[in-house]
């Protein structure tokens, strides 16, 4: 066999195997019993390890001879412990031949003298007593006198033989099993033929095969390597326990090697939702850029959702096919009066904004109509009216709702990331600069471009398109400078740049999913499997 392979095999030997192999010493073959005794393993462990070694071709097992072994039956064991009935009876009538204390209930003051009293006081069955007294009488050990009282005679040979039988029982019981060869002829006779009269029998004879273990070439070579390398079979343990550490026993043990190449199973663990992780990442980036968070209500009125954003009330995206209207109550109780008047005037004729307005009759009741927030920009509009910091930077990750057929690319509710920057000197080029940062920092795009766009509330308006390695050119978001018709009626006199990022598709790419509905999956297994690969 190849040297290195052999060495490898030696390294892979289990300590149990090593113990067996080393037990051969210089011999090439030995009786199985000898090796078993030599290695000191429990029989079950020994047999297991033997099978392993056979499998490795290290040794073979040869059946050579058989041997009879004597052991006791249950009755035999009982008599070994309590004495045979004859001796028990002799003990009871006070003439026992042994010094062993009586195990039967005995009243020394008045030993039982009659058969009837024996039967009453002994734990032996009536049949056992009858048979035993029969035996004793026959051998002249006892006599029955007038009145039924029992009289023990002087010593007889038979008395001795009862005693010898008792001693043999005790001997077998102590050793559990004794080879038939070790008994004298008379004992053999008694075991094989005699003493069956008690019905159940006292002895069992079992024929056992004797095996011989013979090393094969591989085994010899393994032993050689073991001897050369000094590999021992220190007790192997699977784990380091506090006990081992405590009493220092770790020094005497060897830690079993693991198969560390096995693929471990996946655990069910507490974990964040992958899409939320993505949104958390966005928030973190925006906070790092100095933006402050805005938050608002899911139910918004048309005033803040649209009017304040200079979307004319006849605008097509305000119809029932674009926005969800609330059923009950259908309208807000009130709109902030000051802003309502300013905005109404601006829509109608431009008011104080320098605009000519949309030139239609503004309906203030329409402003109260409640909708499910359809764009995150509603939050920006509200922020403008709440005395924002100037200069100031704000953002929101806002859940929005659009009247869309739900399919692979339209979710019933979705997220918009919105933001505004207010500053006296803010300009279109600053807007482009921020958008570029978003594209590079958040979307991590290698290539981007700015494209003219239209939004009712910004002018100029721009869309950011970015090149995605898998999807090609996709839209990252829309932006622009808020129209004066938006800012002035809300009391803001400085320019405000506003932007909104469409994040669903970026999140889908990050999560590796193709159906937007999976962002809100209700399948736990799917969620257990979902993750963001790498870091964001």
């Amino acid at each position: 066999m190849d040297e290195s392979k052999l060495a490898e095999k030696a390294m892979a030997l289990h300590p149990l195997e090593i113990k067996i192999l080393l037990s051969f010493g210089l011999e090439r073959a030995a009786a199985q019993e000898t090796i078993l005794n030599q290695c000191g393993l429990a029989e079950a462990q020994f047999r297991t390890a033997l099978e392993w070694l056979k499998g490795k071709g290290a040794l073979q097992v040869i059946e050579v001879e058989t041997e009879d072994f004597v052991s006791l039956t249950d009755s035999g064991e009982q008599y070994a412990k309590n004495k045979i009935p004859e001796l028990q009876i002799l003990d009871m009538i006070g003439q026992g031949l042994s010094d062993t204390p009586l195990s039967v209930q005995n009243d020394p003051a008045e030993p039982p003298k009659t058969i009837a009293s024996l039967k009453e006081r002994s734990r032996l069955s009536a049949e056992e007593i009858s048979t035993a007294i029969g035996n004793l009488k026959r051998g002249g050990v006892v006599k029955i006198e007038a009145g039924g009282s029992l009289q023990v005679q002087a010593d007889t040979n038979l008395k001795k033989s009862f005693n010898e039988t008792q001693q043999m029982l005790v001997r077998i019981s102590q050793k559990q099993r004794i080879s038939l060869k070790e008994f004298s002829e008379s004992e053999k006779n008694e075991i094989q033929g005699g003493y069956k009269k008690r019905g159940t029998g006292l002895f069992e004879i079992e024929t056992i095969k004797r095996n011989r273990l013979e090393l094969q070439q591989a085994g010899v070579e393994l032993i050689k390597i073991l001897n050369e390398t000094g590999m021992d079979a220190r007790e192997e343990t699977s784990e380091l326990t506090p006990e081992l550490l405590k009493d220092g026993q770790w020094q005497n043990v060897k830690f079993r090697k693991y198969n560390i190449q096995l693929k471990p199973s996946r655990l069910v663990v507490g974990k964040f939702h992958a899409y939320r992780e993505y949104l958390d990442f966005l928030k973190k980036r925006l906070v790092a850029l100095g933006f402050e968070e805005m938050q608002g209500n899911l139910v918004e009125n048309e005033f803040w959702n649209m009017d304040a954003l200079f979307m004319p009330q006849f605008h097509s995206s305000r119809e029932i096919h674009d926005v969800y209207f609330v059923k009950n109550p259908a309208a807000a109780k009130s709109i902030e009066e000051k802003y309502l008047n300013n905005v109404a005037e601006t829509h109608e004729n431009g008011g104080k904004t320098g605009s000519r307005g949309w030139r239609y009759l503004f309906d203030k009741e329409r402003s109260k109509r409640l909708v499910l927030r359809s764009q995150g920009t509603a939050l920006s509009a509200r922020k403008l009216s709440q005395s924002p910091q100037i200069p100031g930077k704000y953002f929101a990750v806002a859940r929005c709702f659009r009247y869309d057929q739900v399919d692979a690319s339209h979710a019933p509710d979705f997220f918009q990331v919105e933001g505004i920057v207010l500053d006296q000197n803010i300009s279109f080029r600053h807007l482009l600069g921020l958008l570029q940062v978003f594209a590079l920092e958040i979307a991590k795009t290698p290539e981007m471009k700015f494209v003219p766009a239209y939004f009712p509330f910004t002018e100029p308006s721009v869309e950011v398109h970015m090149k995605h390695e898998k999807l090609g050119w996709i839209e990252l978001g829309g932006a622009g400078i808020f129209r004066p018709e938006v800012t002035i009626p809300l009391g803001i006199k400085v320019p405000v740049i506003a932007w909104g990022l469409g994040i669903d598709r970026m999140a889908m790419v990050a999560l590796g999913i193709n159906d937007i509905r999976d962002l809100f999956s209700s399948d736990i297994q799917f969620l257990r499997d979902s993750r963001i690969k790498g870091i964001l």
Partner: protein, 562 residues
């Protein structure tokens, strides 16, 4: 945002130059247009136009014109409004239309080669203008007729719906106006615009022959234009004068670009319109604005020579005149979108090309931060994950029975008026139904399930200005063969402990829970939520086969205690 379908060849012919698709896509930025797709081999391309304020760009002629300006192939010297007092064509309006549909304008075009492509484009433009610009014909509807079959003056009047009948386009039989509303597809689509009136609009010629039933349908006999026609009569009816004259002007310029001769039509009103009773179309549209030249620099963020601004705007079809500090800008009469000087700045930026602006970062500094609620929500999410819960994220829109019947609750919820699908017709008022829905779906996932969600709910409350209130809740659910109150109780206790709060649970029965195994959570003696083992009747309603124990907390309220 209209999407139009055009012939590439037609576009290139109108521009006078051909482009590759990449070049074309770049030029389409001038019109906020996006090249959508090309039907292979047909030469047909689809373009999405994004500027809802520029209906003149929703047609191949308008797109070509804007590109010609950039290429220097277009001058602004259309002479379409030279009045020669020609009164060849007049249209008489009767007082009866005043209430129904008071406005009409019209013109005639002659010597135009109407082939299949031109006809197709004409119909498309008419449709886009009426649908997207005219609010689905409500404020604008356009009719086009072969000029040959019409004797002038044409009459615009309102008549009893049953008093007249004609064969409408697309049908073979004569119908009266009422029947058209019921039986003709266009009648069914647009009938609501006139239905509430006792008399319907009608356009007839001098001999009383019916031209059309505005804004619904033309007569098949007099109102069907076929390829080969060369002279056309075009009218527009509606409710907004601005829209009317702008839409007619857009068509006027388009015909002019295709070589047509425009002949005005004089409308005689019995009532004053814009202060006059006689109005000749086409009408001038003044799209003009005056601004301080500095505005360009302020909005763009760099110094720009006013002369260069003038040149760049010129390439966008704008006429400019410059004084010391101010600039006057105007456009041709097919545009009416200058509401504010900022609109001109955008024209300038688009004409110059967005790629020419160097992005720069604002110099202002802020520390930034999230609102307190977000901090609390994130902390709770972190603790829940640490306790071994998996985070869920479900839709806010849901179905009403999930919030009511299946939870055995009767609370009012925020409902959508214009429901699209039942599954997304209400805002959730609790996070529990969402988690139970997940349990219903996820029986194949290895148990135990320990899931949670932190998110917005909308609680109906008539005292609120909006009739509802948005709250942030946190809900936890454990599903396993032995899901017990005490297990959830200890998670809750840990959660509150790490928030620095102490909670007391007081027994209370809930419709969702098993009696004696549920309670409300009090923090600082105020109710902050509840927990309990889900009642088998609820589990059965959700078809959940594994015991569940839940807990829901109102984080918006908890925040006030921190």
């Amino acid at each position: 945002m209209p999407t139009i379908s055009i012939q590439k060849e037609d576009l290139f012919q109108l521009i006078g130059k051909s482009f590759s698709n990449e070049e074309l896509a770049d030029y389409l930025q001038l019109v906020k247009g996006e090249l959508k797709d090309e039907t292979a081999g047909s030469g047909e391309i689809k373009i999405e136009l994004n500027d809802t304020n520029r209906p003149d760009l929703w047609c191949v002629e308008g797109i070509a014109r804007q590109i010609r300006f950039k290429l220097g192939r277009q001058k602004s010297d259309y002479r379409l409004f030279d009045r020669t007092n020609r009164n060849d064509y007049t249209l008489q309006v009767e007082a009866s239309v005043k209430r129904v549909r008071p406005l009409i304008g019209a013109f005639v075009v002659k010597n135009i080669q109407v082939n299949d492509v031109v006809l197709q484009q004409l119909i498309q433009t008419q449709e886009k203008l009426c649908e997207n610009f005219g609010q689905k014909r409500k404020s604008l509807a356009i009719g086009i007729y072969p000029l040959g079959g019409i004797t002038f003056p044409v009459k615009y009047q309102a008549v009893d719906p049953k008093s007249v009948q004609f064969v409408p386009l697309g049908l073979d039989q004569e119908l009266n106006l009422e029947q058209i509303l019921l039986q003709h597809p266009k009648g069914q689509q647009y009938g609501h615009l006139v239905k509430s009136f006792s008399q319907f609009p009608l356009l007839t010629d001098q001999e009383g022959r019916i031209l059309s039933f505005p804004p619904v349908i033309n007569s098949r006999e007099r109102g069907e234009v076929a390829a080969g026609a060369s002279d056309l009569f075009i009218e527009a009816t509606g409710t907004q004068f601005n829209l009317l004259k702008l839409a007619l002007n857009i068509l006027v310029y388009n015909f002019a670009d295709r070589g047509g001769e425009i002949v005005p039509v004089t409308i005689r009103y019995p009532y004053p319109v814009e202060g006059k009773k006689t109005i000749q179309f086409p009408q001038r549209v003044r799209n003009r604005v005056e601004l301080e030249t500095k505005l360009f620099e302020r909005l763009i963020g760099e110094q720009i020579n006013p002369r260069k601004i003038q040149k760049t705007l010129g390439e966008y079809g704008c006429e400019t005149s410059l004084t010391k500090k101010k600039m006057m800008i105007s456009t041709l009469d097919y545009r009416d979108d200058y509401m504010h000087p900022v609109d001109v700045v955008e024209d300038y930026a688009i004409s110059r090309g967005f790629a020419s602006f160097k992005p720069t970062l604002p110099a202002i500094f802020h520390t930034g931060g999230v609102v307190a609620m977000t901090n609390l929500a994130d902390k709770v999410r972190g603790i829940a994950v640490g306790l071994g819960f998996e985070e869920m994220f479900t839709n806010i829109l849901t179905r009403k029975p999930d919030l009511t019947e299946k939870m055995m609750r009767q609370d009012a919820v925020v409902e959508v008026e214009n429901v699209m699908v039942e599954n997304y017709s209400c805002l959730r008022n609790s996070l529990l139904p969402g988690l139970l829905k997940i349990e219903n779906t996820s029986y194949k996932a290895v148990y135990p399930h320990k899931i949670f969600e932190v998110g917005e709910v909308s609680v109906w409350d008539p005292n609120e200005n909006h009739g509802s209130r948005t709250e942030i809740h946190c809900a936890l659910l454990i599903a396993q063969s032995r899901a017990t109150f005490s297990e959830m109780h200890s998670y809750l206790d840990n959660l509150l402990y790490y928030l620095g709060l102490e909670g007391v649970v007081r027994e209370r029965g809930f419709s969702f829970s098993i009696e004696g195994r549920a309670g409300e959570i009090l923090v600082q003696e105020k109710i902050q939520g509840h927990l309990g083992e889900i009642h088998p009747k609820i589990l059965t309603a959700w078809e959940i086969k594994v015991p569940c124990v839940v807990c829901e907390l109102n984080l918006s309220n908890l925040l006030k205690m921190l």
